[in-house]
Symmetry: C2
Subunit: 548 residues, 2 copies
Amino acid sequence: MTDSAATRSDAPLERPDTAAPVMEWDAWGVGEFRKQLSPQVLTLLSAALGVSAEQSPPPAESAVTLRPTTLTDDHRSGIVAIVGADHVRTDDATRLRHAGGKSTPDLLRRKDTEAQDAPDAVVLPGSHDEVLALLRWCAAESVAVVPFGGGTSVVGGVDPDRGGFAEVIALDLRRLDALVGLDPVSGIAVLQAGVTGPQAEQLLGAHGFSLGHFPQSFQFATIGGFAATRSSGQASAGYGRFDDMVQRVRVATPAGELDLGRAPASAAGPDLRELFVGSEGTFGIITEVAVRVHPTPETTAYQGWSFPDFATGAAALRTVIQTGATPTVMRLSDEAETGLNLALAGDIGGSSPTAGCLAITTFEGTQAHAKARYDEAFALLTAAGGTALGEQPARDWEHGRFDAPYLRDALLNAGAIVETLETATTWSNLSALKAAVTTALTESLTAQGTPALVMCHISHTYPTGASLYFTVVCGQAADPLAQWAAAKKAAGDAIVSVGATITHHHAVGRDHRPWMAAEIGELGGRVLRAVKDAVDPTGILNPGKLIP
Amino acid sequence: MTDSAATRSDAPLERPDTAAPVMEWDAWGVGEFRKQLSPQVLTLLSAALGVSAEQSPPPAESAVTLRPTTLTDDHRSGIVAIVGADHVRTDDATRLRHAGGKSTPDLLRRKDTEAQDAPDAVVLPGSHDEVLALLRWCAAESVAVVPFGGGTSVVGGVDPDRGGFAEVIALDLRRLDALVGLDPVSGIAVLQAGVTGPQAEQLLGAHGFSLGHFPQSFQFATIGGFAATRSSGQASAGYGRFDDMVQRVRVATPAGELDLGRAPASAAGPDLRELFVGSEGTFGIITEVAVRVHPTPETTAYQGWSFPDFATGAAALRTVIQTGATPTVMRLSDEAETGLNLALAGDIGGSSPTAGCLAITTFEGTQAHAKARYDEAFALLTAAGGTALGEQPARDWEHGRFDAPYLRDALLNAGAIVETLETATTWSNLSALKAAVTTALTESLTAQGTPALVMCHISHTYPTGASLYFTVVCGQAADPLAQWAAAKKAAGDAIVSVGATITHHHAVGRDHRPWMAAEIGELGGRVLRAVKDAVDPTGILNPGKLIP
């Protein structure tokens, strides 16, 4: 296949100024940003949810034991022959940092001092061809492979599941961190899979461009992971979901390679890009992605809003997106989330309203474009019952938008369970979905003796519907893993029962797999397995994930 | 699976006021709209291309012979048991009207008085369940099935290819013509597959909504066909391609049924909707589609533009779409198309400019939205070198926008070859693509002794690229089928060689199948065949189409 000049370049690879950080083994992110809870918050937790801070301190890394590696010397030599000795790691520190993702259950499991599961080796290929060679070798040698980008999965997507094989490796893509090419006329950048969010912005920013993909995981997650999991960023109203941005994917599979996507749009049959985007490492490993990028915005307009209640706010957002007056960011917190955020910010009694629901809008682009959108949306939101709060709430939100997972770690260590889950449905079904999930979570946790605070926001809107993102806070029960598993099952069943999707942007992984049959039907599952057999006939790729 | 209330309704089916028209057996559309060529045009054809009007008149329908049906009595009874005797047709008039689509080669073949191929029966199921039962029966009895909507394919998509089976039926979906449900809050309508473009607008218009999908085939093509072929309408800038509009598809296959799409957006693995959308009847038959609809626009603003040359015009369109100041319709004709259209309209020397390139923009929506977009785009197009021509060129284009295929028939009968083809690529590759295709067509046809006029327009724009639509006019050679096949092969090879997609909105069918391996690679072809084996294990569905 001849490559389009627009999406492949012979220019030298451009690499980021700084390597991607490695996240803490037992917490989100990097230690310097760890949060302390204020006495006010601890009092609130105790008073509202009965959470006691008298927890035993989490174990030190030295107290953690891993199941020893089962990688044979022959197999180690085989892998070294492909990637070099420097890029095969079997030390416990590296294995522990690839033992799972960053869901609350993951973090609870990491702190377990019983022997933990972990990949038998962490392998760091340096090129697409090395990935392809590794997959062929692993298929021939019956070694399972778990692709690993930023390790930010919250659905068990990077669990080191052996799937019946004797060995499993984590295939860490961090060395694939280059900007391969940039087509400034078409607004297309080709990025290797291991480029992180900040690295992408740095590489593109040097040329006056931005990707504009800012999910909660932005600081650590990778381009390949965004594509493999159908990530959606906070600016999705303006720039689309990551799957919308993907122009082309290059995929290595045990059966060979694929290079899919030859135009911005095509009628050349089924869109196979859409089969590999979202395949979560079960069909192949995405090594390179051509993505839509845009010029660094000339300006950003900010506006915060207050709505008397969630239904009014949701209807207002709906009017804006259906009219086409699309902001770059548009989100709406429900009454509970609005209240708690103000409480955590210590802003109760301040200038912001403490009742009702807070919404955030931002508008990026050229001066003329941002102003036109701002003016149109301002009129629509006002007419729909919104009260403009000025710039500050939107600027505050932007300033703190990557902090929530750090706060979760602090709350976990204070004896609380904090976890999130998300879904999406049509506008007409949104209220029923919100009620069903809230009820399921509340009833499950209350029945377990841990009354919960359930908060919700809309963070992604479409002409036909929206996502709902729930945050749950409650006290830890004696077995917090079992406690959350029961609540999660209740929520997932509720989502399916009202006809919503089991995940809007967290992906399926291991945790949502029980509901995949409800999502795509029995025959849909057979179709996925048929594709899997064609590209991964021995089944080494990410066992136990996604495919029902 | 529980259905979302939003996309399925228990309300009674609403049916259109008028049945879909049946197109002429030997021409596009219906006879009352047939066009006569003016003496001026005939003179132009003769002078510019040496086309002589001294052709023998096309044959009458009574002069056409069809290969006799091979449907056995047993098989006829089997089908009658499923759909009823009234809905199984084996008469020659019906078979002839299902013998192919409406490409220029199709029309040339229809006029052949040698025995023509045709389906052995035309079967008209009345429900999803009947389609499902038919497919199971056909799989068991080894009868090939060609799904048939409006019959507007221009790529051989409805050719009655037996694929090694003794019998083939055309499965005509015209009885599935109902609006199943409408969710006005979410803007989602559920339409059966056989609803035509005008029927959809009538059914939705009664509720104050519009689909806004206006491809050239609008007057005859169907919802199921739009989905199965990834149709793209003239208002795609505003309302998206048809594949963008699809929320949910219900598909009958020999292996069972699928109901795909549970939310406006999802991260629940590969998007299987995108595997069945565009599957052209080779994986199953789409019986029902939930589509995004919008309120009937309050207003439409029109503006025509003149650009000094195609490159300047294309750069202007690019600026508009990349900035986000998106019109509802935005198209640009090249110098040749601009000149010929003016010549055909008898407008040479009139008020419109005769040099340069004509562009059309329209802006629909609420008053505020249309005005905001109009103002922003007006400023951008002016700054990019455009001269505003006022409303009239855009209104004239809208008035005549479904006429071109009728003109083609008149030109064919006057001894010309007229055919179209289309592709898409990135903005940076657009000029190279246009040059390569124009050169390939011109050189191929000139070498065959029939110098050609090759015209081109951009009719679909995206932030990263655009479509190119070519119209070719030349004199008919002694064997016009072979003449066009050679030109088409040269154009297809040129498209592939510059890295563009082999089709932007005409689909693959039989005619583009030779280039599918170049489009998706060898492994991509294996993936398609694996899916096919899972849903159509005996291979009865639309043999010879799409899958390489």
